[in-house]
Amino acid sequence: MMTAPQDGGSTIAIDVRDLTRRFGPQTVLDRVSFACPRGKITTIVGPSGCGKTVLLKHLNFLLRPDSGRIVIDGEDVTDAGWSELNHVRGKFGMLFQAGALFDSITVAENVAFPLVEKTRLSRQEIAQRVAEKLAAVGLEGAGNKFPSQISGGMQKRAALARALIHDPKILLLDEPTTGLDPTRVGAIHHLIRGTQQRLGLSAVLVSHDVPQVFEISDRVAFLHKGRMRLYGTVQEITSSPDHMFRSFLAGEEIDEEEAEARSSALAR
């Protein structure tokens, strides 16, 4: 089993150290450590219920850990208060699993929302930036529609435009292709990759679209039962002999005892 890299300094956008989170008696994240390099896409994969989304929600402080540290841009923000958090959250853009667009306002108003609420930009400037972002995600003509009037793929793109409107440094994406048909999955993946490269963003992506998502990933983390089982470059991970990962990749039910026995045998 590979371990999380210990590389520090300014090349790391998010550094997670020994993160543990319990819900009642259940330990959902168990001493998870990994580091997301700056300007790269780090993808977290794993079976359903392994703690992927919970981990992502710790990165933007929707949840707080029971123990462990979270370092953003070299700054330990684990115990940050509300005002500090506001500052840190300004660095993030987040794309939620279902888009989380506000359904009572139009797509353009959704995209403009963070600027309207958090900045003093003029209406004209906001409208200009909204038009740019909508064009960047291919939604030029959809600004006046309500979220319920556009397709699931368009909603994801609108949500991506909203996540990017304030020019964040770090993009968090929670299963951006869930519920989309296979032809749309590739389009959304390429949109994410293109946007990330164009803006030089650091991104953390939670996905179960394996192996397709590896095409746009720089680093991959395999989470299983709340533990970081594998972490490394795409090449390292895909060539890993770990049987639990191979079973997951093949879409087979993971027989833990057998996988552990085989992995131990290989390690010996």
């Binding site: 959250r89 993030f92 939620f96 989380a100 506000f102 359904d103």
Partner: protein
């Protein structure tokens, strides 16, 4: 030994759980009030809620107020007629409306119309992660979603109650005087002579407190809707039932204090 201690343990756990829930309920309210007093102030959000809770409820409140006034006019006339006191009809109708039925029925109707909508909307926003989206944008969801509703409830409940009272008094007049033949002059004279500022104030105090209680309960239930298929419907039902029960219980308590 375990068998003996098990029920005691269960009771203890229940009590601790209920106390913790009450604590969360209270903290939520205090948070919302403090957030309302903390900048940035968003008057347009309060105005929007004033429209949804207040302006959009006027027709319903007027209708129910008119119907209640008509019933009071009819029943009041028939009862007073037995004692030859038809001249007191205006006083009876106005006192019953202003002190009791106005604030209580208005609160129940606003709960049914705006309170349920409030719980459903916040519940839907919670279930679809829109509340989380606000947090991620560094916008305090309680300040953005809950505080304006509570402030708007505090303002609109007394105003709607006033509309209910006035239209109810005219409804009573239409039936008691227009249909049953009670003396027209004494109807309004009775009201102006016997309705004291204390009567009016006690009705408004009730409406103010109901405004806070209903919006608090409905926002709390919606905001804490569970992320499951039945989460929104359950939150809405609980919000309406708990608000209605609280209105009636508080009404008794306030009446005993304000009498």
């Amino acid at each position: 030994m375990y068998r003996i201690t098990k029920p005691i343990r269960w009771l203890g756990e229940q009590a601790i759980g209920d106390l913790a829930a009450l604590g969360r309920f209270a903290i939520f309210f205090v948070n919302a009030l403090l957030s309302a007093l903390t900048p940035p102030y968003k008057p347009r959000l309060i105005v929007r809620q004033l429209r949804l809770i207040g302006a959009d409820s006027i027709f319903l409140i007027a209708l129910i107020g008119w119907a209640t006034g008509m019933v009071l006019g009819l029943q009041g006339y028939n009862t007073l007629h037995r004692f030859g006191s038809e001249a007191a009809l205006g006083t009876v109708v106005a006192l019953v409306l202003v002190r009791e039925l106005g604030p209580v029925l208005s609160a129940l109707m606003i709960t049914a119309r705006a309170g349920s909508a409030m719980a459903a909307e916040l519940g839907s926003m919670q279930v679809t992660e829109q509340v989380d989206a606000l947090s991620v944008m560094a916008i305090d969801p309680v300040q953005y979603l809950v505080s304006p509703r509570i402030v708007a409830g505090f303002i609109s409940f007394p105003l709607l109650t006033a509309i209910f009272d006035v239209i109810g008094i005219f409804g009573g007049y239409a039936i008691g005087v227009g249909l049953m033949g009670a003396p027209a002059g004494s109807y309004f004279h009775g009201i102006t002579d016997n309705l004291t500022p204390h009567d009016v104030a006690s009705g408004f105090y009730k409406a103010l407190i109901f405004g806070l209680a209903v919006t608090w309960v409905c926002c709390y239930k919606g905001y804490h809707a569970r992320r499951m298929a039945t989460g929104i419907s359950q939150a809405t039902t609980e919000a309406v039932v708990l608000s209605s029960v609280l209105v009636l219980l508080w009404d008794y308590f306030l009446t005993s204090v304000l009498l």
